[in-house]
């Protein structure tokens, strides 16, 4: 931002001549930069929430498993201690519940492993953001080089003008001034060359950035979409498996449903 401002400033102050064609592109670039920063913030946020989601899924699976184990112990206990047939019936019911809970717990664990894999894409892109920032700073420093050379050139040229004006006032010429002028004109030519190189470099980097960003966008969209698909497919698959496990218990305990209000 500052560089751009400085460039504008130096253009207004020192040149008064033709403005570089960069103004419009710069605005577009800045918008793009803002968007990328905003995107990064949202990826950070989503990535954090994804971690919390994964933890919650993990905890669910764990507790479900512990519940299952507690009921397995109860089943064993009732069977060992059974005096009445009602106890054996209860033990059988508990076993059904325990088995389902343990199975469901396993499914939660498997689902979570998949969820981690898919949502990891978010974390990956956080890493890739670094290279985007790198590209942006390359462009900035190249622009700084151009701006520095431009202002140098401008000050050299004004010095040359002053020297020329001063030496033309002396009759017969001023050998030392003329020599200085020659040297200055040499320097100016060299600086012109450097400026042209820098501008070509800047243009190259700008073009590079543009194509890189485009590629980044395309890949990101594809990767994110795959992430969503993978996440959703996994959720559907395991939810169905878990539903089946519990539906079996519902059917096994249907007799009790008739007794309740």
């Amino acid at each position: 931002m500052r560089l751009f401002k400085e460039l504008k400033q130096s253009m207004a102050n020192d040149w008064g001549g033709s403005k570089p064609p960069a103004a419009e592109e710069d605005k577009e670039f800045l918008e793009k930069k803002d968007k990328i920063n905003e995107l990064e913030q949202q990826i950070i946020n989503a990535s954090q929430q994804a971690e919390t989601l994964v933890k919650a899924q993990q905890d669910m699976g764990e507790t479900m498993g512990e519940l299952g184990l507690a009921f397995i112990k109860l089943t064993k206990f009732e069977n060992e201690q059974a005096v009445f047939s009602s106890q054996r019936v209860r033990a059988a019911d508990m076993k059904g519940l325990a088995t389902a809970a343990v199975k469901a717990s396993r499914f939660y664990r498997e689902l979570n492993a998949q969820t981690v894999k898919h949502l990891d894409t978010l974390h990956e892109y956080l890493g890739l953001m670094l290279s985007v920032h790198g590209a942006f700073s390359d462009r900035s420093s190249s622009l700084l080089t151009v701006q520095t050379l431009l202002s140098e050139l401008s000050s050299l040229q004004s010095r040359a003008e002053k020297l020329e004006a001063a030496s033309s006032k002396i009759f017969g010429g001023d050998k030392s001034r003329l020599r200085k002028l020659e040297e200055l004109k040499e320097t100016i030519r060299a600086t012109e060359d450097a400026k042209n190189v820098a501008i070509r470099e800047y243009e190259r980097i700008k073009e590079n950035n543009r194509t890189e960003l485009e590629r980044f966008d395309q890949e990101r969209r594809a990767d994110f979409l795959n992430m969503l698909k993978g996440f959703v497919v996994g959720q559907v698959g395991y939810a169905e498996k878990i539903a089946n496990v519990w539906t079996k218990v519902v059917e096994e305990t249907n007799g009790y449903a008739n007794d309740s209000t």
Partner: protein
């Protein structure tokens, strides 16, 4: 004559739906919790609605207002009077929750009290209780008087107080009789039952603990889905286009599932965790009855011993033709009556407990069967809901996929 006592009911009706009106019934419901009072003295009052055709009752229907401590009073009275019977448990006092009185706590308590009163009303012995009739019919002033008399003067539960009294009594007797060991039954079946009850409590407490944690996990997963949904929607807004829309729809689904999870958490709490907690309390109630039986046994033994000594003493006096014979004879007869009473009390407790344990086991199999059924139903419903929600996204994601892929190809050429 007595009703179907195996029915556990949540709404209050202990009546089989197609019974003729001549069949005796007693049906109670605890409803409409209302918070009364302020700050530290705040409490919840409940409407207790009784419908009955029992002749001992004032009329076919009665509505009274009761509070938690009234239920405590009833339970204590029943425990005192019906030794040997496993008195249905009531929810614990909760000093912390009381101040907060969350809607959830109020609902849990109401449900537990409703279940308690219905168990009492459907128990063939307990339903005859005069204290029950008082509880269900008396006006609030009478109730308050009874309640504060019983629980105000005695800081402890009457049962606790009796226990202390008896402990002291038995300690004295033990010293007098030269015994230090407490007297216990030597009944192997009973020993087995006691051991079973004590161990059962441990197992159940663990299961209940995990059940409660599972409720929390549902809430946590729900919360994380909600937060994730929001974050994904924001990301979608940033991305824009087809992908942005996909993100947005995913976020919306995620938030919707969060609501399902919160609902299921509540269902799990009321229909699975609470029945388990109730089971734990029931086992603790049996332990109290076991303790009463031990007291009764001790008393029966002590009196039998004391009686023997008195008999020996009486014989001695008779031999010496002492003028104390009359007095001693009188004392002996009194003691004999007391001893016989104590023996009868003890034997009655034994008989009742044998019946109660059968009833208890059957009741619990039914209660747990229902609880498991509800648990499984809820989990299946939740899982199916989750599958359905995510499944509905798949065609949209496929459509988005083709858009993204085609736009990528176009840009590459």
């Amino acid at each position: 004559m007595s009703m179907n006592s195996t029915q556990r009911s949540l709404s209050g009706s202990a009546q089989s739906p197609r019974s003729p009106s001549s069949q005796p019934f007693l049906s109670v419901s605890v409803t409409d919790p209302v918070k009364l009072g302020n700050g530290v003295q705040a409490y919840i009052s409940y409407r207790v609605i009784t419908k009955t055709n029992f002749p001992e009752y004032q009329g076919p229907e009665k509505i009274v207002i009761r509070r938690y401590s009234d239920f405590v009073w009833l339970r204590d009275r029943l425990f005192e009077k019906y030794k040997g019977i496993f008195i249905p448990p009531i929810p614990e006092k909760s000093a912390v929750e009381k101040f907060r009185f969350s809607a959830e706590f109020i609902e849990m308590r109401r449900q537990a009290l409703d279940i308690f009163i219905n168990r009492v009303a459907s128990h063939h012995e307990l339903q005859q209780s005069e204290d029950l009739r008082t509880f269900l019919q008396a006006d609030e002033e009478t109730m308050e008087r009874l309640r504060s008399y019983e629980t105000g003067i005695f800081k402890k539960k009457p049962a606790d107080l009796m226990q202390i009294f008896k402990d002291v009594q038995s300690k004295v007797s033990d010293v007098v009789l030269g015994k230090e060991k407490p007297v216990e039954e030597s009944n192997p079946e009973y020993e087995k039952m006691k051991h079973y009850i004590f161990e059962l409590e441990n197992h159940l407490a663990e299961a209940q603990k995990h059940a409660y944690r599972l409720v929390k996990r549902h809430r946590e997963l729900g919360q994380s889905l909600s937060d994730f949904g929001k974050a994904v929607k924001l990301l979608g807004a940033c991305e824009g286009n087809a992908l942005g829309k996909s993100f947005s729809e995913l976020g919306t689904k995620s938030e919707a599932l969060s609501i399902k999870l919160q609902k299921e958490a509540h269902h799990l709490l009321m229909n699975f965790e609470e029945p388990l907690k109730d089971y734990v309390r029931a086992v603790q109630s049996i332990k109290a009855t076991i303790s009463e039986r031990a007291n009764a046994f001790r008393r029966h033994c002590e009196l039998a011993e004391t009686m023997k000594l008195k008999e020996i003493n009486l014989d001695k006096l008779m031999l010496t033709r002492s003028d104390k014979v009359g007095e001693a004879e009188h004392e002996y007869n009194e003691l004999k009556a007391e001893s016989e009473q104590a023996t009868r009390t003890f034997e009655n407790i034994v008989k009742l407990m044998n019946e109660e344990i059968v009833r208890f086991q059957e009741q619990k199999t039914l209660d747990m069967g229902i609880a498991f059924h509800e648990f499984a139903k809820g989990q299946a419903r939740l899982a199916n809901g989750i599958a359905e929600a995510w499944r509905s996204l798949l065609p949209k994601l496929e459509a988005c996929s083709s858009i993204v892929n085609s736009s990528n190809t176009t840009e590459q050429t």
